[in-house]
Symmetry: D2
Subunit: 456 residues, 4 copies
Amino acid sequence: MPFKDECGVFGIYAQPEAARQTYLGLYALQHRGQEAAGICSRNGRELILHKGLGYVADVFTEAVLDRLEGDAAIGHTRYSTTGGNVASAAHPFLVTGRFGQVALCHNGNLTNTERLRNRLIQEGQLFTGPSDSEVILALINRASAHSLEGAVAEALRQVEGAFSLLVLGEDSFIAVRDPHGFRPLSLAKLDHSWVFASESTAFDLVNADYEREVKPGEMVVIDAHGLRSSFPVPEVSPRPCVFEHVYFSRPDSFVFSRSVMATRREMGSCLARRHPVEADLVVPVPDSGVQAALGYAETSGIPFNFGLVRNHYVGRTFIEPKQSIRSFGVKVKLNPCRELLRGQRVVLVDDSIVRGTTSRKIVQMVKQAGAAEVHLRISSPPTTHSCFYGIDTPTRDQLIAAQKSIPEICEYIGADSLGFLTLEDLHHAMGDQGGQGFCYACFDGKYPVPPETAKA
Amino acid sequence: MPFKDECGVFGIYAQPEAARQTYLGLYALQHRGQEAAGICSRNGRELILHKGLGYVADVFTEAVLDRLEGDAAIGHTRYSTTGGNVASAAHPFLVTGRFGQVALCHNGNLTNTERLRNRLIQEGQLFTGPSDSEVILALINRASAHSLEGAVAEALRQVEGAFSLLVLGEDSFIAVRDPHGFRPLSLAKLDHSWVFASESTAFDLVNADYEREVKPGEMVVIDAHGLRSSFPVPEVSPRPCVFEHVYFSRPDSFVFSRSVMATRREMGSCLARRHPVEADLVVPVPDSGVQAALGYAETSGIPFNFGLVRNHYVGRTFIEPKQSIRSFGVKVKLNPCRELLRGQRVVLVDDSIVRGTTSRKIVQMVKQAGAAEVHLRISSPPTTHSCFYGIDTPTRDQLIAAQKSIPEICEYIGADSLGFLTLEDLHHAMGDQGGQGFCYACFDGKYPVPPETAKA
Amino acid sequence: MPFKDECGVFGIYAQPEAARQTYLGLYALQHRGQEAAGICSRNGRELILHKGLGYVADVFTEAVLDRLEGDAAIGHTRYSTTGGNVASAAHPFLVTGRFGQVALCHNGNLTNTERLRNRLIQEGQLFTGPSDSEVILALINRASAHSLEGAVAEALRQVEGAFSLLVLGEDSFIAVRDPHGFRPLSLAKLDHSWVFASESTAFDLVNADYEREVKPGEMVVIDAHGLRSSFPVPEVSPRPCVFEHVYFSRPDSFVFSRSVMATRREMGSCLARRHPVEADLVVPVPDSGVQAALGYAETSGIPFNFGLVRNHYVGRTFIEPKQSIRSFGVKVKLNPCRELLRGQRVVLVDDSIVRGTTSRKIVQMVKQAGAAEVHLRISSPPTTHSCFYGIDTPTRDQLIAAQKSIPEICEYIGADSLGFLTLEDLHHAMGDQGGQGFCYACFDGKYPVPPETAKA
Amino acid sequence: MPFKDECGVFGIYAQPEAARQTYLGLYALQHRGQEAAGICSRNGRELILHKGLGYVADVFTEAVLDRLEGDAAIGHTRYSTTGGNVASAAHPFLVTGRFGQVALCHNGNLTNTERLRNRLIQEGQLFTGPSDSEVILALINRASAHSLEGAVAEALRQVEGAFSLLVLGEDSFIAVRDPHGFRPLSLAKLDHSWVFASESTAFDLVNADYEREVKPGEMVVIDAHGLRSSFPVPEVSPRPCVFEHVYFSRPDSFVFSRSVMATRREMGSCLARRHPVEADLVVPVPDSGVQAALGYAETSGIPFNFGLVRNHYVGRTFIEPKQSIRSFGVKVKLNPCRELLRGQRVVLVDDSIVRGTTSRKIVQMVKQAGAAEVHLRISSPPTTHSCFYGIDTPTRDQLIAAQKSIPEICEYIGADSLGFLTLEDLHHAMGDQGGQGFCYACFDGKYPVPPETAKA
């Protein structure tokens, strides 16, 4: 598989200062990707692009934003990927072809990239890097349709997998979500203009009013004639990614028409019912475990508090000491509050366990801080399968839950007890009777779209 | 008044990689000052200094830390100050004089700086900037004593106000706290060496074991003969700064031998008893209001949740949009969770009100997010007086509680009700029967040390 | 016309530290382009690219050079161009297509770019920017040949204009010069490996031994089977660019098998014979006028000296004073030596006059420094036509010699007399009997290849 | 000896945009120091300082220059020094003391620094670094005089050695040159204001008209009452530094009331008479050997040309290849022109020989480029003694001429012949009958002021 990306997208049409609004939107989506950021704007004569490595606030200066003129723009924040020429992987991508200048950014991951790329290369296409975006742009450019809108629709019929796309053309703006709706994308109004974002929290910062999700399989086109919607690809059963609610989205966001915060709290409640324990204190692993911990505390009646305090100043270039410090990697982010933990039976709540190494360090740290017992509660089922739809997960051989039983994991981690949600609990917390409404593949291995290359 | 500084200090003696340990310690104290950072180390031949503007992680690189050789070091993080030559105000200060090289950093604010400076200038002293540190170093240098230790003791008898000092000499390391003990300073052991820090959280990161506070008026000297303690200045009634517990310190720290987290929770409990209200939800203004809100919720039985979500990616150079956005300054840091707030009667808990402008914006934001009622609860009494002991507060004419009554403040802020702690509540929360154990001057105007220049 | 570029290229094959050698080569070619630099290396598994804006020494760090592994590399320095997304115009270009990864960099300018681009776009090709390089890469990729070598040959038959290309493939290295040989490209040996560079001075720094020019129309291919040469395009009369000798190349270089320094000195000698004058001092406009001035002095017997001293610290971001300073733009680079000029009759020697504004300021400056007379001598004919083969010249309406007669130019510039070389003199200085051996289009308007779009 | 510094100073009084003018002046003096730069301006309320490491163009931005308000300013460029805390060694120094704020920058080196520093430390003074400037500022501050002017005069009577000082006070501007006049300092008029600079070339860029040297021992004071001059120290025989003319100053400068260019050419003429040789070509080691080479060529009748071409893009951070390249350190700056040198008998002219290692590499390089013979001619006598007056020279044991005879040096360097100027030739070239008018200590060891600590 080439690249995995968890990213955030934001777009705005028919607004003065479109690039500055996009800058704000990306800033609100910064948690979706801290490696790179980019904006492409349209000023009526040409499309203008700026992208670079780093935080949104570092990539864009006043001078750069002044250069990004125009009343339409799309932008992107990108998650950390390892190796390769990272700069060339930043979005948006801007090309000139049959439809003049076209810019594209996307959140997601195609599952048939390799096949499409190989075919396109045979047909004479060149690629500057491994990004899915170049594949999609090539498909658009080679479509038989005579309009950008038609060409995007044609391209959609060829790609498989997860994608929420924003396309900025010389005369139109197009937003698309894959038919399964794996990745989120919503729509809001700001005055008389339209705004699109991965999460609703981005609308709040620019004072836009949330309207609705872009629906799975929907293509929204905005141009001089206004906004219109169509569904160019055959309908399938939607499968939005449950992990957006488990971990990835901001708690104050509305994602897949559901409140992330409320869902997480409900996960915590389920967890309290599923794995009750005699304890003195419910402690979240901040920040992602906070809402589930509140739900656990509320349902169990056990007091909640921040027994682990997070240091938010951690930057990308922190220097480690040469002599080893116990659990340094975890301690630099989290500090246990001894006063609170000493002698207590602690319910520690986290959102998931991937490799298990971090959980193990945290449990050790809480114990060294004096906790009498540590009962680890995870607000999702065991992560047994890799994601092929845009969430960066390791291969199965590195997923502890794919290799060990729950008692073995508990022993490895050193907790006094360990409890996960069941799949049914998760369905329930998601309000998904029967468990057909979301993609749970990382928990159950049922992939809605077969991945091109299975990981070991 | 020249400069106010809320800062963090860290020092270590007889440890390999002293500068790297100090780097970690400063990183843990980053919340005490984000404007500048500096470290001075001693390698047996000379003292080596590096300081600069920005976060700890930006000021120090691997190459710089490699240059800061030696087994003793002191370091400092500095809070934002306006105007002036900020670079020259970074600590530590390193000078060569009668005692060879001497480096000093301090947290606090002298109240007789101007008088001392003028006298020293008359005596022929030069100053490179307005820092108190240069005044202290000049007094040390001009003392009649023949040892650095004696000279520091002599200097201490001349300075007034608030100071926690670390002094690194060619042969000794000295830690001092002013006789009132306004600012915190604690002592820990790491293997066979000693570590000093403003807050205990810095000890945790370097795996040092907390021993005790440096006592008000105490001078701790460490050299080849080991550690010794003395009290060179006449004893006075200690008055540690209550604001460290109200707002400034990290919740996981032990400050003035008290848990900050526990104190804050107790403040919230008091507040719930003092100002009960019928409500549906207790919402903290994060991060400083969290523990008081938890205390309020626990005592009142009203559910607690994060109705305001904080964006931790805010940097120093965020670009504002040209067109105004309602409450932008607050929104860029805090986003209301509409789902949670809609239709709710909200108890909003913050630590203090200074000018009232930010509180007003937050209350508006919560109401616009749909809250039915907003009851603002402040976990300290009205701030009616400026601080002269190292906390950056505006002059009285800018303190809303010095200008308006509580009902007037409530009206200005637009809350449905407003409740502060009383002074007696605060005494109680601090475990301070009679209210003589801490400095409450910002709340009651009773200044333990008369300020040189009273603010309006 | 899209982009004009005077650039430098360097390539090396079968040498350890290929990227570091290329870095040195580019450094020696820095005078050919200061805006951007890039290197692509090949490590046996993949091609690795790094490019950026700025001087060679700024774009590459130790860490970057370490990442550019492998024993083959090509590099490029790029001249200043105005507007547009400059970053995307930096070379080399690296693509993945039918022949796997292919990198290309070139010096020159195609004259049929627009036509080719339009055709390729119709055929489904996408372009990320306006560079000629992408056009060439697309032609290579769409060739019917089955080898990269064959495809390059096919592409060459379609492009017109000026180009010296270096192509790095997964298994071979190709160097090409257009059939007219407009732009230089030479070949040298370093131990058992081959080195290519725009000018021979780059060979000197890496200790390579100059072998010969790549011939006009020649394609040199190096791979596991060694080096082979072919001439894939129909032969035409070679027309190397005379301006490389007039101005662009370094004096210590061997260009088009001729010594630049010797040619320039001969130009000066011709000038002395063509436009003798009674004078006291021959003064060059440094650095480009130095050799011609030496030739003028030698032939005329008038003493030579540096009456204008150049400040070599001029960077890209020099801040101009707000209040205007006479002739500031020129003075910041050149300072007259009053002592030398005072009362003297000066022969001022420069290489060419483009708009005339700079010459006017320099003449004024020399007069204000006390010169009694200033006789301007130009070591080339009047520049009356724009270049379409890679030298950045303004449009004809901005070329003073296309708009004014020589006496009018002399008056505008304020010189006491003005003399140019004649075309015949230039032919002579270039050893080009009959004037058919080089391209003199900027002087005589005889374009060997018709430009696609004529400038006004 | 603490620090040696060859530096440039510039000051301006009663001019709008004083800091911007100073920026230009420093830019013109950039050759006198590339390590650090600083400017202090006075805006009527306070003195404002900015200094930093790097080139003038790097240290100052528009924003910084805007902050340096006021109509008076002094500035400084600083030469490379090794080790130590370089940032703290940048000038100007700004202090607050008895005379309010006082800024100082200087070019030169005191010879009794250690003695003065020790005395001042005994008297209670503190120093932040090893700079002479702090010693002078302390002496000024401790003077018994009641005016800054009087105090500067008093301080001058205590310091020994070489110094050209600019002092900016709250109400006055003072320029001073030491009684021997070791280091240059001149005075010019710009409209109605006064400008001071180390070399006259700085006046040219700001359009100021050269007036005269500040005389050895002179103190020039400018304030609201205008300009006045005095000689506060006993007169001694002036001894300006001959090395300013041999090497350090720019050729277009007027230094010590003499044209640098004319002096250097005369040195070359003397050299031609003293050491004639049968040869084909005179080649300078650029840039410092150019004028002497022109003089040699003129007198000898042997043609002059640039057989070595200098690359002016060499920055501070050039990366060396890992595998060694013959004579790399020299080649990166100088490239031989083979075409010119091949088979020629070359007279190579340089200004001086210090350690001999660079000369040796250059001679080798010229021979490898094909020269038949290389006759090295040095336009100064053998450098046998270290400088204690501000020129950075190695200790005697590293000076090849202090360790070897001329034939031995010739052999080490590998030249076919080697000729130096004699001391008498140098006296003659400087127009100094009897050799009492300048300091020749580096050539004859006759130190006008005894150095505090003799180097080996």
